[in-house]
């Protein structure tokens, strides 16, 4: 069974540019989560999809971040325009059910904004 995949693995962009991160969850997992880890700090929740619907987007930092999940399959996270403080590692996770079940994480996308 393929795990959660994320693309790209690394991205270096200049302040003001746009970047789109992609996540492919494990097949059949209705729940998809985005998290972010800024250097040395805790991993913070961004948002949660159930199928194609946003269940909880309370962790999204501001309106420069836009997440979508087309047809309830893969998800994209767009940052536009990127700021320096957006740098970090963005993790995607998926799970079959919601609370109480473990989430399976992708390898992350390291975003550097210069």
């Amino acid at each position: 069974e393929a795990g959660v995949t994320q693309f790209p693995s690394h991205s270096v962009i200049e302040k003001g540019q746009t970047v789109t991160l992609r996540c492919d969850p494990i097949s059949g997992h209705d729940n998809l989560y985005w998290y972010r880890r800024v250097m040395g700090k805790e991993i913070k929740f961004l948002l949660h999809f159930v199928k194609e619907s946003k269940q909880d987007e309370s962790g999204m930092p501001n309106n420069r971040f836009l997440a979508e999940r087309t047809g309830g399959t893969y998800s994209t996270l767009k940052v536009q325009p990127a700021e320096l403080e957006d740098s970090g590692v963005y993790f995607c996770a998926s799970s079959q059910a919601d609370r109480g079940t473990e989430q399976y994480f992708g390898p992350g996308t390291r975003l550097t904004v210069t």
Binding site: E42, K44, R99, F105
Partner: protein, 115 residues
Amino acid sequence: AQSVAQPEDQVNVAEGNPLTVKCTYSVSGNPYLFWYVQYPNRGLQFLLKYITGDNLVKGSYGFEAEFNKSQTSFHLKKPSALVSDSALYFCAVNPWETGANNLFFGTGTRLTVIP
């Protein structure tokens, strides 16, 4: 506010010795508790979880964790450390009673097992 504390950024232990990675939490209600491990250039891997029942939970790779409700702690343990256990360990909680499905993480503890 929900928070998870991993008081040690770094833990060093000799191979063959027991190891403990500490985690305490300040979360509403009776959360679900998790440990994840991250190896270099890999995603977080699930190790174990506590939902209910026995306070000692056994997980992957010989790890176990002890839930202590009065101390709001969930320390990760292993009786005999291996060099291959060297990695970054994250404690996480899910305060499900608040309606949240997401995880709140600690800042991580880097474990180094010395041969």
